[in-house]
Symmetry: D3
Subunit: 133 residues, 6 copies
């Protein structure tokens, strides 16, 4: 399938190159994957999304691998082929092995099954579950 | 909103009671939440789902808390109010604190944003990402 | 939750009343459910949707009950509370009993589970499955 | 797109081969489709999903064709290419002809349209629809 | 991937040809895109969908470009590759430039993010927002 | 349904109050809606989302009303009750009248219908549609 033009370093303006540099430095990699080259068609989106992603995925109360597992699970759930591939690769780099991936996919599948059962049966929330925070 | 009848212990047949007993024993709790009382309207579904859930959520290559975090993320993603409440409570019981929940929701939100960007720009998968396994 | 104004017969213009009359006559009922009263806020939508629905749900190669079961399954799948309630009621009127509903919900749940597994594992379509028509 | 390794009979362990044998025997076919070869990367998932699917899709209050039609409708609804192809093929084997498929797709499309209308207009559920069971 | 047969003019019956003629005349184009050739496998669906689309997309309180932008946004949101491509092309024909597309995709991404945040935090609707109409 | 605690001005720390002040100043309103009070449970998310939203929704190649219409369409599409209410209100403030809302909902419904038809028939993208940019 045809796609958006992918903006390479050579074609990028200074604002885009600065983001590309930060991506490489932050991730300690020497290349830029297609997602960012596509966003570079709209530089304010490129900058905003990279800043947001960098902040959200930084180590915090959840460690980086757990965050990538959640990201991967959501991407599978949304049927996003690109994000499944890219965040699958990221999770592997952080230590996800095949067994962990197998279990993650099993949980995603099971959750989708029970989500529909709960909706189909219109199950009322138990009072004891009401206070999530 | 009206709902499916919730089958209590007293109204349950032997097959249903056996599942209820196993739920309490496995989870070390003394009550049955509405989801299972709703599934008890169709006993083969009750048994099958409980067996599957018990197997999928058991400790494995992923620890139980990580599994619950993934389950919660998918339930939020699907807009399933019941499962968000029940798996939110389960994750808290296993140690999820407010900061972790805040970060989890942030990752779910960010993943949804970038999933749509990747689809909107129809970004082709990088060759380096192709081998997930 | 507040809602759109529900347009009653008395407040309806001639075009809306004509649709309401056709709904009652076609379905052999003596009342109008809220969905149509809500659509009556935009009469061209009311007319177009009713005409389309009447045509699509008429007996054909699939009998009316099978069509309602499919409609209900999709509505559960989309988490649409209103349509789950209204098409659940319609399916019951056409003969769906509790056992059938239990099996329908089980199929919807299972399909959601395997849909995510197929996407998660990025399973390539078998050549033998390629010719759906 | 690259994919998960597909585990063939020759590479499968005893547990996987037993499931493959049961799939062939139950379905009276002499081959294994890619979905199961992909799940074989995680044998407990392979076994659990096959057992569940076999139970859910067995003849019951709903006949096997009706169940496949519902499965196909949900798979189309979720945009799952693999499941649309495989369950489309399964439904054809059980008697779905082109006219029936045309009507099924029309119902799925119509349901999606009215689901969004009901949500967009925030239509309150009619009291008469409240008792689904 | 294999697909449904695409019905060309030469293979079409009179009813299908009449719709094809109306599509060309209404849109002032000299060709028929694949979507309609696919629907022609089920002529009543072809006719009904074309009539509906023609009515919904006609100039009204919203101008045709705004309608196409909304259509494109929903198609991206649903991950529908075909509709993203066809309504992207339609919007461009009506004046959408690259900057507008960049902003549209940014809004779609942001809405998906905040939709999940609102669901994840289970935010109650403010009273002041209750009266949409 | 219970919800997350809503953080009021009085309970907010300086970082949260600064965001609340900017929301009021930017929107020229004198109150803070529940969405932001909920996000205030996780101040970095509150700040990041507000900054992003402010940037994305500012006038650009698309005017503010068109952006709100797209936002509203996506929120309806995702079945997000809160965002449908809040962005419905925002669009009204910017000039959306009932007729426009009626047409917007009609487009969302139609797009969902044809999205599923395109997926159900697995329609291949026309070559002429391949170059979206």
């Amino acid at each position: 399938m045809a796609t958006v033009p992918l903006i390479d370093e050579s074609a990028a303006n200074a604002q885009v190159r600065a983001v590309f540099d930060d991506i490489r430095a932050t991730r300690k990699v020497d290349w830029i994957n297609n997602f960012w080259k596509a966003l570079a068609n709209h530089p304010p989106t490129l900058r905003r999304i990279w800043q947001g992603l960098k902040e959200v995925m930084a180590p915090g109360a959840l460690d980086p691998l757990t965050k990538e597992l959640i990201y991967l699970a959501v991407s599978i759930n949304n049927g996003c082929v690109y994000c499944t591939a890219s965040h699958g690769a990221a999770a592997k780099r952080l230590g996800m092995n095949e067994e962990m991936l197998g279990e993650l996919i099993a949980v995603v599948g099971m959750a989708n099954q029970t989500n529909r059962l709960a909706d189909g049966y219109r199950v009322p929330v138990d009072e004891r579950f009401e206070n999530l925070f």
